[in-house]
Symmetry: C2
Subunit: 495 residues, 2 copies
């Protein structure tokens, strides 16, 4: 691989000066067209050897583009807030909205590669991180992102020379940290090993929706023009294309009524007497309080999500959980219609942004499962979209779990008769907070479709590390106690 | 003051149990009504002695309210990202949007009070922080926020007892940090001094729009019911009120055509030859590169904002600045219509959210001055709103400046003839990025009104620490060089 490295890639000054102004005009025009009807973000990755060259190229690109619609990103050292969240959080946080260009230096490949190269992490962990990267890119591509992953490559001599120059401080506007100089030196000195590592990485991480673009970067003019041209071509091509390039995903044969439903096995009428309820609730609450205030919990975090039929009692259960918690560590996030900033991002973005820090707790009232429940049933997204969501969600929850976040998921189930009783009761009481809307009645008519969606969801996303807990909720006492006791159990297992 | 501390404030169990469910119903109803038509946020501060009591009260309040629409906030230790920004950033960041309740423990009064009490800061700095608090509250109140500032008060014996209990770990669900226990102990032991400090604070910081509510907190039932009732009453009162309670602000007599205009004194035709331009631009660019990469800059930050007539060349100037900067440290923020999340917050919020970290640079293409320019001229806000903005903006810029952020402000001025020439030129060229819209032509008709607004703005917001730089921009060469050289000068003075 990378035989082209041996070829001479050079652009002379005259040719450069002839092309540059036209290219800039094209790029600006593309950017504006993209902004006018923002349908996708552009993600440019500058990765590979040649830290100096990457920096210089980023500078050049930023000066060609209109910098007001570019989000440059470079992980120097992750901040404390970033370190207290799963690795990918900082990249989710830095994503450009639709219509804008994200310019990533030192992004998701650099960290694992460096740590692996320096022997700080083992091969297994390295592969796990690469897998996270791939899933991240795939999800974004599915949501429409246009990827340009440039892989900077230098022949051996140049790579040594670059290191020397940075040591001497001849870096132009580009400042390399001591770490960066050191790693560049390591790379250059172990050139053969580096190239083979890069080959391995490229083999593992090139995908049609996010391919690597090898870039011999020794000649600055060649390097910058190539990046500019490739970017302009790609944006133009995509703007012309009428639809998203990536539409894989399964067929509806993957899911569907198999006769049996996981909800069927539940005895929805499980109940507790008032006395038992009071005693067990108090006990569970105290236990939850103690556990979340314990030393051990400081290095972990909890995400609890609540889904369920309308009027199943999610709010009441959430309240019983919150009551047990130090208000300084808990945040309750109700999921309703997304804000316009959220709409300009992939659907998981609005959940990533509420990721708790270590020692903290986020409770979601409805969640990312909306994708495979309401969005599926109401056809708010395409079949391919909700189909792939099962996988994306499993990966998302794994990332949290790998990082040490305890994820607890509840489906509160009532039967159709009980729902009707509660709807009527609420209409009679007339408290504002119990208001039954037309939408509630409409949803009720789709009971069977929702039941099927719940079955498929549980089937596909209940894993041994992040299982679903189905809560029989015709009796509120039983439901609330089960919720609290389940959280306690999961915390006990995990701490 | 605080004579009521000597009175017995007690609620017996029966009375409490009779009132509590009704109060809860009221609070929930209020919350929902607030959410239905979100016109203002509610900001509840629990401050004062009695750390344990504050925690317990917050817990109780959170369990009465619907926690999904409450943003609890408690500064434990500020995070690194918070420490790298002005002190108020963390509170701006935690503000509830309109329609929601912010529940603040350990908020903006605790830090300065503690530091002052412990002798870590001098009286002068303490007063500065208090001043920041006041301006913050005033701005929020002007924007509609409903404030409830509860001041917890304990008689001497109880305050000592509380400390003892926390030491023993008998804190219920409430965990006090070692710092908190220590400070509570200091407070209790120096009870007289504490009370007189609290009196002083209250005297300095009680305002009609954000009054202190002294709360004898020894009896938990009395304490919680009082908070709940006061909150419910205040929300109901405000919901009934047809308009914002605070509408101070000056009269239009404050500003207006005085015959002379600061813009008149400019020679808009200042120009440079192409050769001089190239040489000075290169020099200024190199200098800017060096300065921003210097060790000294790492502990500072730069905010540069650009305002100017339409077609005055803001974009081109910004590009020349960005070209000199390490792309990893710069962010360009174009200010257009606010997103819906931004609309749910006070107008300065969207600028606070882009506050650079130390060692970083934010460039605003248009800025908070929109308030006294376009919003004034187009009557997007009331006269009182833009009148008070002069003061609010001065305070905002002082806060940045006090923290060490270098703020540079440019007005790019062209004359009416030059604007017409550029508009026509742009229409002829037809590049997308030069598109002249109907709005541009409309704005042009209001030339005189804008000129007056610019004059008033410069008059009122050019301070010795954060001066305006008026840039003669009929000649682009001159304008760009002046911009870069001014930034260099300001950096030199400040570093």
């Amino acid at each position: 691989m990378f035989e082209s490295l041996q070829l001479k890639h050079k652009v002379d000054k005259a040719a450069y000066e002839a092309e540059e102004p036209l290219l800039r005009e094209r790029l600006i025009d593309n950017q504006l067209e993209l902004l006018e009807k923002p349908t996708f973000p552009v993600i440019v990755l500058l990765t590979g050897m040649d830290a100096l060259g990457r920096g210089a190229a980023a500078k050049q690109l930023l000066s060609w583009l209109d910098p007001r619609h570019v989000r440059p990103y470079a992980m120097m050292r992750p901040s404390e807030e970033e370190l207290e969240r799963p690795r990918m959080w900082r990249f989710w946080r830095a994503l450009p909205p639709k219509g804008q260009v994200g310019l990533f230096l030192n992004a998701w490949y650099e960290g694992p590669t460096r740590e692996y190269f320096l022997g700080n992490i083992k091969r297994g962990q390295f592969r796990d991180h690469i897998e996270e990267n791939l899933r991240f890119e795939e999800l974004l591509a599915h949501e429409g992102a246009l990827f340009l992953k440039f892989l900077f490559l230098l022949p051996k001599e140049q790579s040594l020379k670059g290191v020397e120059e940075s040591r001497k401080g001849r870096t132009g506007a580009w400042k390399l940290s001591r770490d960066e100089v050191e790693i560049a030196e390591q790379f250059a000195k172990n050139y053969k090993k580096t190239i083979s590592a890069v080959e391995e990485l490229v083999t593992a991480t090139s995908r049609t929706h996010a391919p690597w673009i090898p870039l011999p970067s020794a000649d600055a003019r060649y390097r910058d023009l190539t990046i500019g041209r490739t970017l302009a071509d790609a944006i133009e091509e995509r703007l012309k294309a009428s639809k998203r390039p990536l539409s894989m995903g399964g067929t509806s044969a993957m899911v569907g009524d198999t006769g049996a439903n996981v909800l069927d096995s539940l005895d929805l009428n499980k109940s507790l007497t008032r006395e038992t309820y009071r005693a067990r609730l108090k006990q569970a609450r105290n236990r939850l309080t103690r556990t979340t205030l314990s030393k051990k919990f400081e290095k972990r975090a909890l995400v609890a999500l609540f889904e369920g039929n309308d009027a199943a009692g999610k709010g009441g259960s959430i309240r019983r959980v919150v009551e047990a918690l130090d208000p300084r560590m808990v945040q309750v996030v109700p999921i309703a219609a997304p804000s316009d900033e959220e709409k300009a991002q992939p659907y998981l973005w609005r959940f990533w942004r509420h990721m708790p820090r270590l020692g903290h707790i986020t409770i979601f009232d409805r969640s990312w499962y909306g994708r495979v429940l309401v969005e599926r049933v109401e056809k708010f997204c395409s079949e391919a979209d909700w189909m792939r969501a099962y996988e994306e969600i499993r990966a998302f929850e794994s990332e949290m779990s790998d990082y040490g976040i305890i994820v607890v998921k509840f489906w509160l189930a009532i039967d159709k008769k009980e729902q009707l009783r509660r709807f009527k009761e609420r209409e009679a009481v007339g408290y504002k907070r119990y208001k039954i809307t037309n939408e509630d009645w409409r949803n009720r008519k789709k009971w069977a479709a929702y039941t099927q969606a719940v079955h498929d969801m549980v089937e596909r996303t209940s894993t041994s590390r992040v299982p679903w807990t189905l809560v029989e909720a015709n009796d509120k006492y039983h439901a609330r106690v089960k919720v609290l006791e389940t959280i306690n159990e999961r915390l006990k297992e995990s701490l």
